[in-house]
């Protein structure tokens, strides 16, 4: 579709916009500035949701780590085959099995009174969880920076809107008329 404005609009230092119509370059820039407010708002909303989800995920991992480390802190036992382990009850074994840790290794005690949880597998699992947490933390730091930038940009866009309103800018008045109709 052809543009409808006749003014040569210099956009930044790059190129020109051939237009035909009555809107000036400033009007278009103001329209863009105001339109960006919606975009910034949506981005912030999305970022807030992601941050909340991430925080919940981190809290879950911290709880898991705390639980796994409590096993690691138990007195070391030795399995019949000579591996370092800690002793766990049948209930603890079932709970750990249901948690879906692929790297944990168990040896059932001969008398059936419980299990040995091998230290090697436990330490591998703990390391994996710590790496997962570190990954989420890096991502979280980046998000915090993005939030700050978006908040500042949104404030600037809102200031522009407020100034346009105070100055009874024509573009804004047209938008308001649309709102009320």
């Amino acid at each position: 579709m052809d543009a409808i404005y006749t003014h040569q609009a210099r956009i930044g230092a790059v190129g020109t916009l051939q237009t035909t119509g009555t809107a000036s370059e400033t009007d278009l820039e103001n329209a863009i500035g105001v339109a960006q407010l919606a975009d910034l708002n949506a981005q912030l909303s999305e970022l807030a949701s992601s941050m909340k989800e991430q925080l919940e995920a981190k809290q879950e991992i911290r709880e898991e780590l705390s639980n796994l480390q409590s096993y690691d802190n138990r007195e070391t036992a030795t399995t019949p085959s000579g591996d370092e382990a800690c002793e766990i009850t049948v209930e603890e074994y079932e709970e750990l099995q249901n948690s879906g840790y692929d790297t944990l290794q168990f040896v059932e005690k001969e008398d059936g009174s419980g299990y040995y949880l091998l230290k090697d597998g436990l330490e591998t699992t703990i390391n994996q969880k710590q790496e997962e947490l570190a990954g989420l933390n890096s991502s979280s730091e980046l998000m915090a920076l993005q939030v700050q930038s978006l908040v500042d940009q949104r404030k600037n866009a809102l200031t522009l809107l407020s100034n346009l309103y105070s100055g009874k800018n024509e573009i804004l008045m047209n938008i308001i008329r649309n709102l009320k109709s």
Partner: protein, 96 residues
């Protein structure tokens, strides 16, 4: 300790979320929405309709939009850097 660093990061994330909530409240309670007698969402819809009525080709709008967006990011960063108390202290503008 690794766990301490993790706690600090989580604490920062929680502070960021609290900041977001505060900013959101301030945004929604801004006087301009009261003056316009609408919610931000209603206003955004009206802006969208107005922009469509300008009949600017999508590609050209996208280019202009992207350029303004980049300029806005730089302005926000400059403002934050310029008014960062740490930077002002470093240049001796503030007494420690």
């Amino acid at each position: 300790m690794n766990l301490d660093k993790n706690s600090q990061t989580e604490e920062r994330a929680e502070k960021t979320l609290a900041l977001l909530e505060k900013e959101e409240r301030e945004f929604r309670n801004h006087w301009v929405w009261k003056e316009l007698q609408c919610t931000p969402e209603q206003f955004f819809k009206a802006v969208d309709q107005h922009v469509k009525s300008l009949n600017i080709p999508q590609e050209k709008w996208n280019v202009m939009y992207e350029q303004t967006k980049q300029a806005s990011k730089v302005r926000a960063l400059e403002r934050r850097t310029l008014f960062n108390p740490m930077n002002l202290k470093m240049i001796g503008a503030l007494r420690v």
